[in-house]
Symmetry: C2
Subunit: 218 residues, 2 copies
């Protein structure tokens, strides 16, 4: 899904790639809310259904792993580590898919916004794709060595969001992921709330200013 | 020192009380920089020399304790705990001094900005003074139970700054202080850097928006 503005100040506005959350899809309410805000702020926005999400067909392999993770989690296994490995597996597919979307759009400077699943898939994407010049990530942790390795290869400015009372991502793993980013400019923003609670609106204000600072010519 | 603007949109703009850092004074460069920015953003700003700082006379008692702390620190004692106790002692004096300044100014809504010493003295001030409606604090930790008790009594919105590589305030103590604030709205902002490194300019932008949101009528 691509959002653009007819009144954009530029023929070729910077594109914000939005990574949706687990179980969501490319037109989830939170995605739409952010996309509209980005477009009204001088950007284009794009969001793709992740594999096994939204309008895409059921992927038997991912479906099986997701079911295994649910079973393992209910038996007390380390959910964060299982999810991190799963995200790394899915990212092997999505990084190249998202790069193909940027090719198709003939994208110039790109920003990335994604939390939770959008962080798990986003970290390897931002680490790999040089068109991405700034990234907002969060609600994810460094539960797998692959995540830490990818985070260390991220060098663009990062704004990293933590829900302080996140019951799914252990706080120390969130802090470790922030720690691991190789970026010179990185800012951690933590707010009270649980994993699925709505992010404060002032964080979206901050995100828009962050992307404006790094992606829009003065 | 009071800064006001002749072109202020209000006869009685909200006042930002600035708490300077240890060893600094009421016209230190960082204080001036923030004061000018606040005044150009619709606020008044005020900063007072802390006891034993700036133009105030040497206070033999504080001077003796400060010297003892330096000696203890060089022999490996817990500097953070010693400083926290010292700040709590000084705050017994500064809270009432700063309240007298607000009385003198006939202040309405007040914001507080202070890091390091300005945080140590600021937490009990913000906890005590009902005219303070929003506070930016940081570069301080919860090394003393008195700090935690005062932080729990803070209920106004808080923006809390951490230098991620702070060599003076242990990171876990900073996180514990953020955790302890009783505020419903509180946001932690962490950036790379050591204790005395310059804060990123985008944090001052954020501070201005934070005070604007909470102190200036729409």
């Amino acid at each position: 899904m691509l959002w653009t503005s007819a009144s954009s100040g530029s023929d070729r506005p910077p594109v914000i790639v939005i990574g949706h959350g687990g179980g969501q899809h490319k037109t989830a309410p939170g995605v739409l809310h952010r996309a509209h805000r980005f477009v009204s702020s001088g950007f284009a926005a794009v969001c793709m259904d992740a594999p096994n999400h939204g309008d895409r067909p059921t992927d038997e392999r991912y479906q099986r792993i997701a079911t295994e993770i649910q079973t393992a989690a209910s038996s007390g296994s380390d959910l964060a580590a299982l999810l991190a490995d799963f995200h790394a597996l899915v990212a092997e597919q999505t990084v190249s898919e998202w790069q193909a979307v940027l090719d198709h759009l003939d994208a110039g400077p790109v920003g990335y916004w994604g939390v939770s699943l959008g962080c798990g898939l986003g970290v390897p994407f931002v680490a790999t794709e040089p068109r991405v010049r700034a990234a907002v990530l969060g609600l994810g942790g460094a539960a797998a060595s692959s995540t830490l390795e990818a985070a260390a290869r991220v060098t663009v400015p990062v704004e990293f969001l933590i829900q302080w009372d996140d019951e799914r991502v252990p706080r120390e793993q969130s802090l470790a992921l922030f720690d691991a980013f190789g970026s010179t400019e990185k800012t951690l923003h933590a707010n009270p709330g649980r994993h699925a609670d709505r992010l404060p609106e002032h964080e979206l204000d901050s995100t828009v200013r962050f992307f404006t600072r790094h992606l829009l010519p003065h």
